[in-house]
């Protein structure tokens, strides 16, 4: 099915075409949202918001890039903004916990290496984490990442390189345990 034809039908108010567009892209958007959010409900919220915005703003899609690029630009914006809001809310809760004297309690046990890696990914700056997840986890190309984030391909490569370096640093004390 020609993508432009589907878009034209969606613009004309064809509900079936809306569903076609949704079906064609929802998996990748949801996977990315889930990888970033780590939570099904949040990932669904982000995916839902991405498609709502896309349908609302489809008239502004000029067709200069592929529709998937445009959808990913919306999705990454929704995800990053959503996570920022969530972080602010959690920070406030943490402040309240700290005021109640419950913060700062250490974990009972050391996490294993995989947990440590995942925590290190969690701790990456959001932009680096997004680039890392898109490239190393979900297999997007730097061209796709650059187009979705509105940056040059070189910037995407540089951010991935910094993300990997940070992960290596975070895991350096575990290096010996990784040798099998």
């Amino acid at each position: 099915m020609d993508e432009r034809e589907v878009i034209a039908r969606v613009r004309a108010g064809d509900g079936a075409a809306e569903r076609e567009l949704y079906d064609a892209h929802v998996d990748r958007i949801y996977r990315l949202a889930y990888r970033m959010a780590g939570d099904d409900e949040l990932a669904q919220d982000f995916t839902q918001e991405t498609f709502i915005r896309a349908f609302e703003r489809l008239d502004s899609f000029r067709g200069e890039a592929a529709i998937s690029t445009w959808l990913h630009a919306i999705a990454t914006s929704v995800v990053l903004n959503g996570l920022r809001k969530l972080k602010r809310a959690r920070d406030r809760e943490t402040d309240l916990d700290a005021a109640d004297g419950v913060a700062g309690r250490g974990r009972a046990a050391e996490p294993d290496l995989k947990d440590r890696l995942h925590r290190a990914i969690d701790d990456l700056p959001e932009r680096y984490r997004l680039v890392f997840v898109m490239h190393d986890v979900e297999g997007y190309t730097h061209e796709e990442i650059g187009a979705a984030l509105g940056v040059e391909t070189g910037t995407s490569k540089a951010q991935l390189s910094r993300a990997r370096a940070k992960l290596r640093t975070a895991l350096s004390d575990f290096a010996g345990e990784w040798v099998s």
Binding site: D23, Q48, V137, R164, W178
Partner: protein
């Protein structure tokens, strides 16, 4: 361990990072549809940050205050300089002018909404309640220094008539009565007079 091996390990372990379940397509599609329907039926409200709201409100009060000052000032004669004409009168009337500014903005919003709503024949309870409240304010304004200006007094009297009609609008007989009120608004050019006393861009900010 070499960088290369650590890289491979990282890559393998990273694939496990927040591994997504199967996409809940139908569930999300239903939510997308429901949310779009909800947004279509709800008027869009632009939420402003508090400091933007307060800044806009302060600017609007100033603008409307100046406009009312000009609107209620006597026509310039040979003894007045251009600066005298442009500057709003200062002094104890300021509080009344601010109150008048808010009142006029709200009244304009009410009448504009009422006129457009007549075509949709929606519920009038909200309009009636607002008109009653604004009618009381109109009568207070008529007894205040704001009404010293003949032009402002005439406008307030017109508004009093129209607001009284809306405030006493009987439920169940809306169509014909509302049409007559709209005719009265047009015949008296109430909205035109209101809009010339409230600068464009300040509506809704107060």
């Amino acid at each position: 361990m070499t960088d290369e091996r650590l890289g491979e390990r990282l890559e393998r372990a990273a694939r496990e990072y927040h591994r997504p379940p199967a996409t809940p397509r139908e569930e999300m599609w239903a939510r997308v549809q429901a949310e779009r329907a909800r947004r279509r039926s709800t008027p869009r409200v632009i939420e402003l940050r508090p400091w933007v709201r307060w800044s806009l409100a302060a600017a609007a009060v100033l603008l409307v205050g100046v406009a009312i000052g000009r609107f209620s000032a006597p026509p310039p004669d040979g003894r007045q300089t251009a600066a005298d004409v442009a500057a709003p009168p200062a002094g104890p009337d300021l509080a009344y002018r601010v109150a008048a500014a808010q009142y006029l903005t709200r009244t304009e919003a009410l009448l504009t909404g009422f006129r457009s709503d007549v075509r949709r024949t929606a519920s009038d309870t909200q309009f009636v309640e607002q008109a009653r409240e604004l009618l009381l304010t109109t009568r207070l304004m008529l007894g205040s220094p704001v009404a010293k200006s003949p032009r402002m007094k005439a406008l307030l009297e017109d508004l009093e008539v129209v607001l009284a009609q809306i405030a006493t609008l009987p439920s169940g007989r809306r169509g014909e009565d509302a049409r007559l009120i709209n005719e009265a608004i047009e015949q008296r050019s109430v909205l035109l007079k209101l809009r010339t006393s409230v600068p464009a861009g300040t509506q809704g900010a107060l």
